[in-house]
Amino acid sequence: MPHRDTVWFVAMLNVQELSKNYGDFVAVDRISFSAGKGQVFGLLGPNGAGKSTTINCIAGLLKPTSGHASVAGHDIVSDGKAARRNLGVVPQELALYEDLPAVENLRYWGKAYGITSAALEKRVTEVLEYIGLSDRAKDLPKEFSGGMKRRLNFGCGIVHKPPVILLDEPTVGVDPQSRARLFEMVEAERDAGACVLYTTHYMEEAERLCDSLAIIDHGKLIAQGSVNELRAKLGARDVLQLSGHFPVEPTKQAISALIERGNADLEFLAQEEDSITLTLSHASQHLPAIFEAVAGTGGSVSETSLRSPNLETLFLLLTGKELRE
C-alpha cells in the first residue's frame, strides 16, 4: 500500500529502508523517501553517491539487498511487472535504436509497455510533437544531434504515459538549449500529474525543478526536504569566501576568536592554500572584524566574495566537499 503522510498526499513512489550491497561495499544504505503525484523529487549527490543504483533498484534492473520500494502501490519485487508498467525510465545513457526511425523507436517502446495499436499511433504523434521531432519522425536517430537524441530518449521513456517517471541525470552532456527544453518537458509532465524522480549532480537543476529533494552521499541520505526546508537548515547565513596571502590556520583561529565574541554562528566550509570559505549570519556586518583578524596574522585579503547560501553550500556543509567532486 502507498505510504500516506497526509490525507491529500498519495505516494506514487515510496522507498523504505532500501539497501543495495555488492559484497562488503554498500552502494545504497537504508534510504527512505517518498514522492507524490504532480511532484518532482530530486536525488542530489555527486557521481558515485548511489543515485543510479537507487534508480536501478526501483526500475527493477537491480534487486535490492534489503528494504522495499513501490511504484503506484505495486511492490517492485513481489509485483514487479505491474510496478514496471507504471514506471517510465529515462536512463542516463541513451537507449535508442540508432538504425530505427524515431517514430519506430517510439512505437516499439510503446508496445513494450503494452499500449494497444489504436492508442499507440495517437500517443506517438503526441510525443513526437511534444519532443519537437515531428518533422524528423522518419529519420534515423544516428543522424540526430546530441540534444535531439536526448529528447527522443525522453520521449521513449514517457510514451506510455507513466504515472511515475525516473529521470537519471538526463541533462549530462546536453547543450543549454536542449537542457532548457528538457526542463520544460519535465515540468509539463509534473503539471500533468506525473510523479518524477530526478537525479542530478547539478545543484541549479535541483533548485529549479524539484519540489522536494534528498541529498545523497556514499549511499546515505544526509538531508531531505523541500528546497526551502533545506535552505532553512543554513539559517540566515551568508557564504563568504576570502582569497589572498595569509596563513590559513592562524587566520581561521583569529577569525573564530573575533567572531565568537560577537556571538555569530560561524562555520568554516572549506579551505585551500590561499582561500577560506565560511558561513556566517549577517556576514557583511562582520567584514571589518574579519579583515582585522587577517591583518593580525600578517596576511592580506585580495578578493572577497559574499553570496547567499544554496544547496551546494548545504552539501559542502554536510559533507565537507563540493557537489561536483
Binding site: 537491480l62 538504425d99 513494450a112
Partner: protein
C-alpha cells in the same frame, strides 16, 4: 506473444538498414561457390594429342595408329601424323602428350622376329596422358608378341610369299588362322568358373561433384548470417536498449522469440538467394525449394541461438566476437563447406556430419539430390528444432542472469 511480433518487426526494419552486412553474408559464399563451380563445374575429360611419325607406312604400322584411335581411347587421345622434326619440337613445346616414331622396316622386322625399336617421347609436364600412351604402347607390343607366337607358321608363310599373293593363298592362311583360333579359344577363354551374374538393383546415379559442394556453400551463407545476427545482442547491450527493455514489463522470452523469427526470415532470404541461384544452375527441381528453405531457416535459427548463447557468455563484445569468428572457420571446414562430406574419407566425413552445420549440410544434400521433396527424415527435423529450443533457452537464461542488465 504480440511483443514477439513487435520485436520481429523491429529487427527486420533494422536489418533493412544494414544492407552491407547482408551483402557480405551472400557475397562470400557466392564467390567461393562461383570459384568452385568454375573450377569443377565443367565435366571435361582430359584430352591429349599423340604425334605419330610413321616411317614404315605398312599395314602393321597402320594397325598401331588405329589402335590409338579406337573406342574410348580415341576420346582421350587424338592421333596426329607428323614428321620427326616437327613432332620433337611440338613435344618439347608442350603442345602434345607424346611422340611415337615407328621406324622404317618395322613390319618386316616384326614378321621376321628381328629386333626393332619404337621410340616414344612423352611430355614431362603432363603425367596422366603420357602414362596412358605408354601403357597402351606396351600392351600393343605384348599383343604383337603373343600373336607372333601363336601364328608363327602363318607368318612364315606370309613372309615367304611373293608381293601379290593369290586369293587362294590368302584364303588358306585365313582358314588356318581361324582354325587355330577355334582350337585355342577354349584354352584362352576357358569357362572354368561358372558365374551367375546377379544384377544389383539399379543404383541411383551419384550426383555430380559440383552439386555436392552446393549444400556446403548454402550452409556457409547460413553460418555467416547466423553468427552476424547473433552479435546483435551485444549491439543492443551497447545501445542500452536491452537495459531499457528490462525496465519495461515486456517479457525477455518474447523479445527473444521475435529476434529468432527475424533471424529465421533473414537467413531464409540470405540462404534462399544463394539457393535459387544454385537451383537454376544445377537444374534442381523447384519442388525441393520450399522444404530446403524451411530446413535452412530452422537450421539457421539453431545456429543463431547457439552463436548468441556463446557470445553472451563472454564479458566483452570484443572477446565474444573473436571467439565466435574463430569458431566459424573450423566449423565450415568440418561441415563440408570447402570439401563435400561425400568425397571425404569415411572417418573425416563422420566427424563432419557430427558438426552442427555438417549435419545440416548433409541433410540438405539428401533433400536436393533425392527424387522427391521433403526427403529429410523427421528425426533430423526434431533434432534441429530441439537444438534451436535449447540454444534459445540458454539465451533467455543469460539475458535474465545479468547480460541484459549490465
Amino acid at each position: 506473444m504480440s511483443f514477439a511480433l513487435t520485436s520481429f518487426r523491429k529487427d527486420i526494419a533494422r536489418w533493412r538498414q544494414d544492407f552491407v552486412a547482408t551483402l557480405i553474408w551472400v557475397a562470400i559464399p557466392l564467390m567461393i561457390g562461383g570459384l568452385i563451380t568454375t573450377l569443377m563445374g565443367q565435366d571435361v575429360k582430359p584430352h591429349g594429342t599423340l604425334l605419330l611419325v610413321d616411317e614404315d607406312q605398312t599395314f602393321l604400322s597402320e594397325l598401331i595408329v588405329g589402335a590409338y584411335s579406337a573406342g574410348e581411347l580415341g576420346e582421350l587421345i587424338s592421333v596426329e601424323e607428323t614428321s620427326s622434326r616437327d613432332g620433337l619440337e611440338r613435344v618439347n613445346d608442350g603442345e602434345a602428350s607424346g611422340l611415337l616414331i615407328i621406324p622404317e622396316g618395322f613390319a618386316e622386322a616384326f614378321l621376321e622376329s628381328t629386333p626393332v625399336t619404337l621410340t616414344l617421347r612423352t611430355n614431362p609436364s603432363q603425367t596422366i596422358l603420357p602414362g596412358i600412351i605408354q601403357n597402351v604402347t606396351e600392351i600393343l607390343l605384348d599383343a604383337g608378341f603373343y600373336a607372333h607366337q601363336l601364328f608363327s607358321d602363318e607368318i612364315e608363310v606370309l613372309t615367304s610369299m611373293t608381293d601379290n599373293p593369290s586369293d587362294a593363298q590368302v584364303a588358306a592362311i585365313a582358314v588356318a588362322i581361324n582354325n587355330k583360333m577355334e582350337n585355342v579359344a577354349p584354352k584362352l577363354f576357358p569357362p572354368v568358373i561358372e558365374i551367375e551374374i546377379v544384377e544389383p538393383p539399379p543404383a541411383e546415379p551419384s550426383p555430380p561433384l559440383v552439386l555436392l559442394f552446393f549444400p556446403g556453400i548454402i550452409m556457409m551463407a547460413v553460418v555467416f548470417a547466423s553468427n552476424g545476427l547473433a552479435s546483435d545482442f551485444w549491439r543492443e547491450r551497447q545501445l542500452g536498449t536491452l537495459r531499457r527493455l528490462v525496465f519495461s514489463p515486456a517479457r525477455l522470452a518474447e523479445f527473444l522469440m521475435g529476434k529468432a523469427l527475424a533471424a529465421a526470415l533473414i537467413i531464409a532470404v540470405v540462404g534462399g538467394f544463394t539457393m535459387v541461384l544454385g537451383f537454376l544452375y544445377h537444374g534442381i527441381g523447384w519442388s525441393h525449394l520450399v522444404s530446403s528453405l524451411l530446413w535452412i531457416a530452422v537450421s539457421g535459427v539453431a545456429l543463431f541461438a547457439w552463436f548468441a548463447a556463446l557470445q553472451m557468455l563472454f564479458s566483452s563484445q570484443k572477446t565474444a566476437s573473436v571467439i565466435s569468428s574463430m569458431l566459424v572457420f573450423p566449423l565450415l571446414m568440418a561441415g563440408g563447406s570447402f570439401f563435400p562430406l561425400a568425397v571425404l574419407p569415411g572417418w573425416i566425413a563422420a566427424i563432419g556430419r557430427a558438426s552442427p552445420n555438417g549435419f545440416m549440410a548433409d541433410r540438405l544434400t539428401t533433400e536436393i539430390t533425392a527424387a522427391g521433396a521433403w526427403s529429410i527424415d523427421l528425426n533430423s527435423w526434431l533434432l534441429v528444432i530441439a537444438g534451436a529450443i535449447v540454444g534459445l533457452a540458454v539465451c533467455v537464461w543469460r539475458l535474465r542472469t545479468g547480460f541484459a542488465r549490465a
